[in-house]
Symmetry: C2
Subunit: 138 residues, 2 copies
């Protein structure tokens, strides 16, 4: 992932409404949600939502497809993952403490989430040392 793309993605994520939007689309899974439905759930005007959606799409974080009269938006898990990977890999250069902190945030305390999937990526669990990891405070 190149720098400008990562910057666009980060800029897109640094807004409360758009963070909510991402969360909503992650929950929605691959079915996605129509723009109107998103606007209803987040309480946004159509034009404002469209503005946010285009920011996220330009940042490579969501994708869209037309379905009849609706435009369905879905989360782009690849783009999201690459953005986070960019931070970890390119920016933080896999700094052990950052990675550990990150893993603790993920492994410990996984609340009752239901992103529609079975379980959370067991990826790597015990790998990380304690370090400073304040874990997430929720």
């Amino acid at each position: 992932m190149d720098r400008s793309k990562a910057l666009a993605a980060l800029a897109a994520l640094s807004h409360g409404d758009r963070l909510d939007l991402v969360r909503l689309l992650v929950r929605a899974g691959e079915d996605g949600l129509a723009a109107g439905e998103i606007a209803r759930q987040l309480g946004l005007s159509a034009s404002r939502l469209s503005f946010h959606l285009s920011a996220l799409e330009q940042g490579g974080l969501i994708a869209s497809r037309r379905a009849a009269r609706n435009v369905i938006y879905t989360i782009d898990t690849g783009g999201l993952g690459r953005t986070i990977a960019y931070l970890l890999n390119d920016c933080c250069m896999d700094h052990p403490e950052v990675v550990a902190c990150c893993q603790h945030g993920r492994v410990i305390e996984t609340p009752s989430l239901r992103p529609a999937s079975g379980g959370q990526a067991g990826g790597k669990a015990g790998a990380a040392p304690d370090l400073t990891a304040p874990a997430r405070e929720s």
Copy 2:
């Protein structure tokens, strides 16, 4: 990590100069770098650097300490890790594909995951997410 803190951190990261600054401080490790040295290496004016530094400090991504005439800035690995963890955990809800992409991005070099569309998201697939499935093209 609360939402407003995460937003401040993400906003701080969504600027090229500040991303370079983070990278520089990660490299510098816990010894950190003096503001003047940072300005020299990044080719920034003193006031502009100070502006960026305060944005990063406010976002909880760096810390500072005085050493004689210099102010030494160091990366806050905890803050950085918590920010990334917030994205993964709270926002993406540990979506298997995001996590996988993220892990691959770190270990290998971000394989060519299909951006959106194709995604066979763990959506409602039911079975455990095929974490190992996507990448691994080598």
